[in-house]
């Protein structure tokens, strides 16, 4: 089915090229979440550049409808600069202040610390390199189905056992499900074969052959990975963490999977993140400027009242 889907996408893309004569392609609709198919279209070289709406499914229709009213109906100009999109890294949801987070942790009786900024990144990177699985909650929530470094579970992609551990133990889902890597944009090309940035995980790319053995947890059976490239603009904190991990390990790549368990939507509030931490085996939770470590917590018998049906 997947190859049929790719072929149909490719033929439609060819038709779109013929009908418009353009060298740029924009994609949306639920089928555009098929990152393998998108990559197929990009590789065909029908178009020089491809941009995929990160909220490609029906949720993205809300944004499209509003933008359509402004530009098309109100006839207001756009000012595209040819380089950057205006989606702001798709970090368009709620953010929470350190005051709010601190108050929550205190109220819940959590054992937590608030290290200085550099220390926070340094110790989180070190924990990741020591194979800890980290819940990372930072800044504005993502719009669209992918976690892009604001509501993410992060781990070391060099550890082959991570896929099974996070799938089965942390997220309680099928063991086969591959994980996506996030990589520092400027180093992406050393590790992956890609022609243009993929800030929204909407494309799969081949992992470079000589890197596959180093990245077992994010390399799919066919040698591909659904990549997020992390550039300087959208999410500076996530980027700094990647840099710190790179400095410590020589690897500018992290596993980045959504901060939720199977059947649950991605966490939105610090409280949901904390609850998720309590009922999973995450080793560490970074909530804004705060760190909550599993080993410091009193015996965690506190189960979350809510349970989610599998998706």
């Amino acid at each position: 089915m997947q190859v049929v889907c790719e072929e149909a996408m490719l033929r439609m893309a060819r038709r779109a090229q013929a009908a418009t004569g353009s060298k740029n392609l924009c994609l949306a609709g639920g089928v555009a979440l098929n990152c393998v198919g998108n990559a197929h279209v990009l590789r065909s070289k029908l178009f020089d550049r491809v941009w995929v709406q990160p909220a490609a499914g029906d949720a993205g229709g809300a944004l499209g409808a509003a933008l359509w009213a402004w530009h098309h109906r109100q006839d207001k100009p756009r000012e595209p600069d040819g380089e950057r999109d205006t989606q702001l890294g798709s970090l368009l949801g709620p953010a929470f202040s350190d005051e709010e987070i601190g108050a929550l942790l205190k109220a819940r009786g959590a054992v937590y610390r608030r290290p200085a900024r550099e220390e926070l990144f340094e110790e989180t990177a070190r924990a990741l390199a020591e194979r800890q699985v980290v819940g990372w909650f930072n800044g504005r929530m993502e719009y669209g189905p992918r976690a892009l470094g604001s509501r993410s579970i992060l781990a070391d992609p060099r550890d082959p056992s991570m896929r099974t551990r996070i799938n089965l133990r942390t997220k309680n889902r099928e063991a086969f499900r591959p994980f996506a890597p996030s990589v520092l944009a400027e180093k992406a090309n050393d590790w992956f074969e890609l022609k243009e940035p993929s800030p929204y995980m909407s494309l799969t790319v081949p992992v470079r052959e000589n890197r596959r053995a180093t990245l077992p947890a994010v390399t799919h059976v066919d040698g591909s990975a659904r990549l997020q490239t992390v550039g300087p603009e959208a999410n500076p904190d996530f980027r700094d963490l990647l840099r710190e991990f790179d400095r410590l390990t020589g690897c500018p790549v992290l596993i980045n999977t959504s901060f939720n368990v199977r059947g649950e939507p991605i966490v939105n509030t610090p409280e949901e993140a904390y609850d998720c931490f309590l009922r999973t085996d995450l080793d560490r939770l970074v909530l804004g400027s705060f760190v909550v470590e599993r080993k410091d917590q009193p015996k965690t018998g506190e189960a979350c009242a809510k349970s989610f049906t599998p998706d």
Binding site: V4, S22, L27, A62, R78, G93
Partner: protein, 263 residues
Amino acid sequence: MNILGISAFYHDSAAALVRDGRIIAAAQEERFTRKRHDEEFPKHAIAYCLKEGGIDSSRLDCVVFYDKPWLKFERLLKTWLAYAPYGLRSFALGMPVWLKKKLWTRNIIREQLGWEGDLLFTEHHESHAASAFYPSPFAEAAVLTMDGVGEWATASIGYGQGRKLRILEELHFPHSLGLLYSAFTYYTGFKVNSGEYKVMGLAPYGEPKYADLIYRHLIDLKEDGSFALDMKYFDYAAGLTMTSPAFHELFGGPPRVPESELT
């Protein structure tokens, strides 16, 4: 100028606030209600967007809904008539939500928001196309949208240039790449509208040994990317499931039981 965009009543309700062309906020309702793919009217997401923008609904200039419920309803009726009386059960099951909710989208929005101003409805694929083109870095671009189904369109080709976006061609229900993919998602025992991702993830574990069978029987894929599905293999147009007995016979068995071992 503050414009609020809303999608709702199908899957993944959401809201977005755009001010003078800049995206101020956008979020899915599921994140607030903790119900995955929540399709209810996105009142929490709307409340958040307004709060982020520092306004209440009285300061909006325009509200836009992402599809045209009446056109969708017409598709439903016409499809039902074409298959009648076969689809009676699915028709009877689907009708109440249309009569109580979807056809009253206009009233629901007005009531929930206390909104008496400008209220627009874009077409489903127009909304998708706009979401793809307007935030993109391109001054002009081909715009391709593909999904399950909106009103009638299941895929569209458009051209965006500057501030204008024109839809040039459409493919219509029941011929849908999204629904074809969902049919296989259903057949392989995953949840439609969310398990497609797992099917894609599993694909490289296997070999495309059914591709020929799919081309020969299910889909007549033309050189130009348009296609027709042979509807005797599918049940989604009028029935309650995605695939029909003919489909199960073609692939040698009933759908996989969800959560059973993958073979």
